[in-house]
């Protein structure tokens, strides 16, 4: 029997996606506009045999998530702006100690308490560089309720595969929006399981993970008797070693390369009407919805505009941006912040095309009309009066 469409909110879809991905531990602290994720899981987690914890703050939430993951469970937390800021130190711990986990940030206007109920895309750089020190991250941006579900599943898979925290960057609009969705059949989902290293406990110390073979860490409370640390450690033995520059350099480079080496495999991009496009709109998350409407509007008037929509924001989808830069003369980057990703696009395009940015930080979605204006300017010679 094919599944029938159901009406679902973005935040609910995140919660259900996490359960489908095998998450059985959630710890969080209420904050608008992410609270529905916690509320949904307060009911659902016990029903599926999992645990829901409301912690004393967001620092405790991400810390408990790290602990649960180390004990072998798929674990996650969800928050928004101020809470995401509080989590940064422990996200760094998860990076350093290579703890698979998922952090959902439903972006709202900031800084500080900012615009609690309004959407924003102001955390995209914080997702990349929020915690101190050299590191790399994976961040996914859903632009529909359906993607809130599928990308949450993908986030857990990537977390397990690369032994890393993965950030899902939703926003107040996507999180609170209701859409009719037909969820994938549970059996059709690819789910990455944790596994245990295929070796004797005594050998584990000397078995090394390399970039193409990232071994899972055995859970706490096993014969492996692992040591997990936020200090610089020798990545062959997991033993802390802060006095040897070679060990520190090796770990630092490994933590970055672990993601960068695989970035073409990780990066997902939707390219819409790009085949003969002369102008591309580079837009992600909720803004990509307006952008797509503009592409349809332009195409109806025979104007060659396409959309490049990064689904993976980090690692940055360099391949797709390269393709785009070789093809189009202008890239329009509308985003609900002031130039955060547009700088990145500019660096990647590297003079091969003009980059036009458009930012909004008033808590309102960038409308199709606003993007249309930018498109018209690029096709000033087109006879718009005819359409």
């Amino acid at each position: 029997m094919p599944a029938s469409p159901i009406l679902m909110q973005g935040n609910e879809a995140v919660a259900e996606g996490a359960i489908a991905a095998g998450a059985r531990f959630f710890a969080g602290y209420p904050i608008t506009p992410s609270t529905e994720i916690a509320e949904t899981l307060s009911r659902r987690m016990p029903e599926v045999g999992g645990s829901f914890l409301q912690m004393e703050d967001e620092i405790a939430s991400i810390a408990a998530v790290c602990g649960a993951s180390l004990a072998g469970q798929k674990a996650f937390t969800a928050t928004s702006g101020p809470g995401f800021s509080l989590m940064q130190e422990m996200i760094g711990f998860a990076e350093m100690a290579q703890i698979p986990c998922v952090i959902v940030d439903v972006m709202r206007g900031g800084p500080s308490t900012g615009l609690p109920t309004e959407p924003s895309q102001g955390d995209v750089m914080q997702a990349r560089w929020g915690t101190h020190g050299e590191h790399s991250v994976i961040a996914l941006v859903p632009s529909s309720v359906y993607e809130c579900y599928t990308l949450t599943v993908a986030a857990f898979n990537l977390a397990e595969q690369y032994r890393t925290p993965v950030i899902v960057l939703s926003d107040a609009l996507i999180g609170h929006m209701r859409e009719a969705v037909t969820l994938p059949e549970p059996g059709s989902l690819r789910i990455a399981e944790r596994g245990i290293p295929d070796c004797e406990p005594g050998e584990y110390d000397t078995v090394m993970s390399d970039l193409d073979n990232i071994l899972p860490r055995p859970p706490l409370g096993s014969a492996f008797r692992v040591h997990v640390t936020g200090l610089v450690y020798n990545r062959r033995t997991d033993a802390p070693e802060t006095g040897d520059p070679e060990v520190a350099g090796d770990l630092g480079r490994y933590l970055r390369e672990k993601i960068y080496h695989h970035r073409d495999a990780i990066a997902r991009v939707e390219e819409y009407e790009m085949k003969d496009a002369e102008v591309a709109i580079f837009a992600y998350g909720s803004v990509a919805r307006s952008a797509k409407a503009v592409v349809k509007w332009a195409r109806a008037r025979d104007v060659p505009v396409g959309l490049v929509r990064p689904i993976t924001l980090w690692p940055f989808p360099t391949l797709a941006v390269d393709r785009m830069a070789e093809q189009v003369r202008t890239v329009i980057v509308p985003e609900m912040n002031l130039k955060q990703m547009s700088w990145e696009v500019q660096a990647a395009v590297s003079g091969r095309a003009k980059v036009v940015d458009f930012g909004r930080v008033d808590g309102k979605l960038i409308t199709p009309t606003q993007i249309e204006e930018l498109v018209r300017a690029e096709f000033y010679y087109h006879d718009w009066s005819k359409s």
Binding site: F93, H227, T229
Partner: protein, 297 residues
């Protein structure tokens, strides 16, 4: 006095039927296999080694399955215990050990989790997690290395530094009042609270073992000597003299006169509070069962 509003709370007076476990210290040859390395960063005369040994003694004495023992530690001189012990260990972030341990215990209730923290780790940066872990009565053992100072960062004042005490950040004498960590734990809802000293080794092993054996949140405060900073600035830089001071000031809980607990005058040691009430992980399991039962209809 407890700060908890909880109808279920049952307090049993310390000396009723409950007795702390008595454990005979093990031979050094039995202790050594539980250490990953013979080298530590700890200064000569520091109490941290004594407390580490007492923890191993307690784990051995309780005959715990070593594979199921997990040590989660914070950051500080004391936090280094995680990298020295041959169990599953986590050296978490400063102040966050209890929050990490909460996730560990909920995810795998079969684990016996000991959370090693410094006094600053536990009651300054981690103070919020401390009171909430106690309030939840989660089955964890908080082992607090209380040396009344920030050792790791070089002798700054801590929430347990007494009024008037000198430190590198209270050069003119501390103007703040100190926390009594055991009473703080009790007020916040811990169902097992005990204190030992580095001086009285057998008692220290016994209070740690009692904490681990207890089902619920156990706070075990180990009074520690940091002769290098706290001692040198305030009492004595001589480790032996420091421990003799502990011998004079530590009073068995049963003989402790009502009144203020003061570090350099008198403070109670042994079992301080012991009670029973709903334990967090057990309650989560009950909720899980009820929710699944309701689903089945």
């Amino acid at each position: 006095m407890s700060a908890l509003i909880d109808e279920q709370r049952i307090e049993s007076p310390p000396e009723s039927d409950y007795k702390l476990p008595r454990i005979n210290p093990h031979k050094t040859s039995e202790i050594v296999p539980w250490l990953r390395t013979p080298k530590t960063i700890w200064c000569p005369g520091c109490s941290n080694g004594t407390i580490t040994r007492a923890l191993i003694d307690a784990i051995l004495g309780l005959e715990l399955d070593a594979e199921k023992v997990v040590i989660v530690a914070g950051i500080g001189c004391s936090g280094r215990i995680a990298q020295y012990l041959e169990y599953s260990t986590v050296h978490a972030a400063h102040g966050r050990a209890l929050a990490v341990a909460t996730g560990v215990k909920v995810a795998d209730p079969s684990l016996r989790v000991v959370v090693a923290m410094g006094d600053g780790d536990c009651s300054a940066i981690g103070g919020n997690h401390f009171i909430h872990a106690a309030r939840r009565n989660i089955d964890l053992t908080a082992l607090i290395f209380n040396n009344s100072i920030y050792g790791m960062t070089g002798g700054q004042m801590s929430p347990t530094t007494h009024t008037g005490d000198k430190s590198t950040t209270s050069v003119h004498g501390n103007v703040e009042a100190a926390f009594d960590l055991s009473e703080l734990a009790h007020a916040a809802g811990a169902t097992f609270v005990a204190r030992g000293t580095a001086w009285a080794y057998r008692q220290l092993v016994s209070v740690i073992a009692g904490g681990i054996a207890h089902k619920g949140f156990a706070a075990v405060e180990a009074m520690a000597a940091c002769p290098v900073y706290y001692g040198r600035f305030n009492l004595t830089a001589d480790p032996a003299e420091f421990l003799k001071g502990q011998k004079e000031h530590a009073v068995p809980a049963s003989k402790f006169e009502e009144g203020e607990s003061r570090l350099h005058e008198q403070y109670p040691v042994g079992l301080l509070h012991h009670g029973e009430r709903a334990e967090f992980v057990t309650s989560l399991a009950r909720v899980r069962e009820e929710a699944q039962e309701a689903l089945r209809g």
